[in-house]
């Protein structure tokens, strides 16, 4: 059959039916078993009803994108069957509970599993029907039940043994039902035979990254899909002593985060589209005050409220130029959880080292998507306290100047109250002391220090883009941020027949220097260069042209609020190749 095992499961239903739970448990299960898992979510902006789905791919080789076609569809409602039956793989199977979807389907590709009935009979409550569904999926795949039992134990610890046992009984019954009834099931599941994998999404990775960077203050205002980072940090706030504060609005968020930073700790805020727009004045304040702050922006389709629970890469240029006036910043856009962890740490480091705002851009797709790793490298994480906290004696302290020119681009940032140093920050143009000035000469010097002296130093810190391919590729597929995984899977599959390479930017601004790796040469010498973006206007391509003069030969842009899927992206890349 296949070279390697690679199955996709889609769980569909209404908001509130618990499909996230089913998906989440299955994903965790497969990753514990040692499979590679990739999942993504598609949900509407409502709390109950509508149509949502959770899509999960698991394999014995690395996977980093979703496919359109599914091998198993778990349909919690009729709509799921109607909408997704076309997306069933050959020999794929749709499982459903005829009684609860109020219709039955016959044929090779359907398997009616009475989830509700199994739940009531074994667990005593319809509420466990999702457990029956999970069991049934395992049964269809002929996988072992032991790990599921473990997971049920952990997840339901707080609910007590009775509930745990009922769920286990229900799961087993669902499992057995599928073993017995799914005669047409022909899935060939190879055993990974390895240790379990981690399962993590990029919101968690960014949250984890901030905790591991010594972030002590997070404030924000709820906004999908940015809230997940706040939720994650909130869940660890007590343990790691982090103040997590929900503000009255996003203007307060950025200004409060800056106040916290001034107070002497690492601080962070985050939002999405419109909420971030409200922060732009504060971004400029960070620029002027030279105050470190890390800002996460989880993009969603705009303009305005747009499609609040969907995905897009539409805010890159807005972030790059956000805030009035001119000041340096760094902008990172992780393409997977691993990069999310690493770049969040790097953002905190650079923000404090250079006293600038640092941005982490994600989007709904990458924020929610789960990946597996054997482990995550923490050796590349750094923690340096760049603040001036030592004591010097009264006289020296009273000579302290917040914006002293004497140390070059970066003037030491003291902590108020920590010594006799007075820390004076001003949003007006100011002198070395931090007091407002109006003269042209001081203004020019401050701009030079703040902007021109820092920029080259910051640029030196930016690492080469990710490159995968030969030395002289014919075709280069380029992307940034969330498209990392999908481009990788697409290029890997195309590389069997084409001299094709992948170029991916996660450290976006400043653009990496050519010294590290001459991506401009690679691009210029290729025949076909495609910039893949989940936006309408090709914002990264615009940035590349503005910064380097380089213009891609092709662009692939989606702007329908949905992520790229493997089959269609591969198809579109092929079209570009054929068109030439």
């Amino acid at each position: 059959m296949r070279e390697s095992m690679d199955y996709t499961i889609l769980i569909g239903g209404k908001a509130g039916q618990g499909l996230q739970t089913i998906g989440g448990v299955l994903a965790r299960l497969f990753s514990r078993m040692g499979y590679h898992v990739f999942s993504h979510q598609d949900y509407m902006s409502r709390i109950r009803g509508g149509h949502n789905f959770y899509q999960l791919r698991f394999s014995d080789k690395e996977v980093s994108s979703s496919k359109k076609k599914a091998h198993i569809i778990v349909a919690l409602d009729l709509t799921t069957i109607e909408l997704h039956k076309e997306d069933l793989e050959e020999n794929g199977i749709i499982i459903f509970d005829a009684q609860s979807v109020k219709q039955t389907f016959t044929g090779q590709e359907y398997l009616n599993v009475p989830f509700d009935k199994i739940a009531v009979e074994n667990g005593g409550d319809k509420i466990m029907s999702n457990t029956a569904a999970i069991g049934a999926v395992l049964g269809m795949l002929r996988l072992e039940m032991t790990l599921l039992e473990e997971i049920i134990h952990t997840n339901l610890k707080k609910k007590g043994n009775d509930i745990i046992n009922k769920n286990i009984l229900t799961a087993k019954a669902g499992y057995q039902y599928a073993i017995n009834e799914c005669t047409q099931c022909s899935f060939a599941v190879s055993m990974p035979g390895k240790n379990g994998n981690m399962l993590i999404d990029t919101s968690q990775a960014v949250g984890l990254g901030s905790i591991m960077s010594g972030c002590k203050f997070y404030c924000g205002y709820p906004m999908t899909p940015s809230t997940a980072v706040m939720n994650y940090i909130g869940s660890k706030a007590q343990e790691y002593s982090i103040v997590v504060e929900q503000t009255e609005d996003e203007i307060s968020s950025i200004n409060m985060a800056l106040g916290a930073s001034y107070g002497g700790v690492r601080s962070m805020t985050g939002s999405s589209g419109g909420g971030f727009a409200l922060m732009t004045e504060g971004v400029s304040l960070a620029g002027m005050m030279e105050l470190p702050v890390v800002i996460t922006l989880a993009q969603r389709p705009g303009p305005a409220t747009g499609l609040p629970t969907r995905t897009e890469q539409g805010d890159l240029l807005f972030v790059l130029h956000s805030g009035h006036g001119e000041f340096p910043r760094v902008v990172f856009a992780p393409g997977n959880p691993e990069q999310g962890l690493y770049l969040t740490n790097k953002a905190f480091d650079l923000a404090e080292k250079y006293q600038i705002p640092a941005f982490i851009i994600t989007d709904q797709y990458i924020a929610d998507a789960q990946w597996t790793y054997e482990s995550l490298d923490t050796n590349n994480l750094v923690y340096n306290d760049y603040r001036l906290r030592s004591s010097e004696g009264e006289e020296a302290e009273s000579a302290y100047k917040r914006y002293s020119f004497s140390e070059g681009a970066v003037s030491p940032l003291a902590v108020p109250g920590d010594s006799k140093r007075l820390v004076v920050l001003d949003s007006d143009e100011h002198d070395e002391d931090g007091h407002m000035i109006e003269d042209a000469e001081m203004r020019t010097k401050m701009m030079q220090k703040r902007l021109f002296q820092k920029l080259p130093l910051i640029q030196q810190e930016i690492e080469a883009p990710f490159y995968f391919g030969g030395e002289k590729p014919d075709i280069v597929v380029t992307g940034w941020g969330s498209t990392y995984g999908i481009i990788k899977d697409a290029v890997m599959s195309l590389s069997k027949t084409q001299n094709i390479a992948m170029l991916h930017f996660s450290q976006i601004y400043p653009l990496p220097l050519y010294e590290h790796f001459d991506y401009l040469k690679i691009l210029s010498e290729a025949r076909i260069t495609i910039c893949v973006e989940n936006n309408a206007t090709g914002q990264f391509a615009y940035l590349m042209r503005a910064e380097t003069g380089y213009k891609f030969t092709h662009n692939i842009n989606h702007f329908d609020g949905r992520p790229f899927l493997l089959e269609s992206l591969t198809g579109e890349i092929n079209e570009c190749i054929e068109r030439l």
């Binding site: 200004n255 409060m256 916290a260 004076v424």
Partner: protein, 283 residues
């Protein structure tokens, strides 16, 4: 701390005769009498004439954005609740642009002292109506007159059950000093609305106008009765009471956050190592 003169900062750029001068001097004296040295407290401000104050009084300073003094003040307190934080703001800064932060700073009851230099006008931007400008006043940007009712910061704050609500008058230094000292030592959010003549742009609420109206609340007044305080606050403004109009003894925001019990956040250390175990939770 040795002398009052240690607080001397930059030369003020205010107009001669401006009501901000006595406020500045009064604040210095209050701090001096409270024994707070320049490095031991922080003044946070927005933008406006009042907001320039921290440049004129040597101290830790966060002179931020117009309307946005309270959020950084809150952030500062949350990471270092041993640091007294004073906010100097204007009526436009605090009640106009910054209105939302005021509501929520009061709700939080963050332990910050807010001094609003209320000149009933936008001074720095040259004389537009502010939220406290008397109804009907015509300016260049109010060609039909200030058509909204003037904001009553006292009744607003009492409506929000603000922990400490006072009114002072810039030219009444001794009394103002006592109010400011109480406000600074009060545990909880303290709003002091300070009537401040703007000699350049406010030709209505002048020194003599205030002098005719302002009076002191005496010892018999009980500031703990919220309903009575409200009654006082909404009385017609032919006589303007100054003093502490309302207070209560709620817990502060900082006190309600468990992880701040032991020490201020800024003094709690960090080591990357202690966090490594979090990776395990993802298996």
């Amino acid at each position: 701390m040795n002398a009052l003169s240690d607080y001397k900062g930059q030369e003020p750029a205010w107009c001669p005769g401006c009501g901000n001068f006595p406020i500045l001097e009064t604040l210095k004296t209050a701090l001096f009498e409270l024994g707070m040295e320049s490095h031991q407290f922080t003044i946070v401000s927005g933008i406006g004439q009042a907001a320039k104050l921290p440049h004129y009084l040597k101290c830790n300073t966060f002179n931020g954005l117009h309307g946005r003094a309270l959020p950084p003040a809150t952030g500062m307190r949350l990471v270092n609740h041993e640091m007294p934080v004073i906010v100097t703001s204007g009526d436009g800064d605090c009640y106009g642009e910054g209105g939302n932060h005021l509501i929520h700073a009061i709700r939080r009851n963050i332990n910050v002292t807010l001094l609003v230099h209320d000149n009933q006008i936008y001074g720095l931007t040259k004389g537009q109506a502010s939220p406290t400008t008397t109804e009907g006043v015509v300016t260049k940007t109010q060609p039909f007159g200030a058509n909204a009712s003037e904001l009553n910061p006292i009744s607003l704050a009492i409506g929000l059950d603000c922990s400490f609500v006072a009114r002072g008058y810039a030219a009444d230094s001794v009394f103002l000093k006592s109010i400011i000292k109480e406000a600074i030592t009060h545990k909880g959010f303290a709003l002091v609305d300070i009537l401040q003549p703007c000699v350049t742009f406010n030709k209505l609420n002048t020194y003599s106008w205030y002098k005719e109206r302002v009076y002191h609340l005496d010892e018999t007044y009980n500031p703990y009765d919220r309903a009575e305080a409200f009654k006082l606050a909404i009385k017609p403004p032919d006589k303007i009471p100054t003093g502490i109009i309302y207070k209560n003894n709620k817990l502060t925001f900082e006190e309600r956050i468990s992880i701040l019990k032991e020490s201020p956040l800024v003094k709690q250390g960090f080591s990357l190592k202690t966090t490594l175990k979090e990776l395990d939770t993802f298996y």
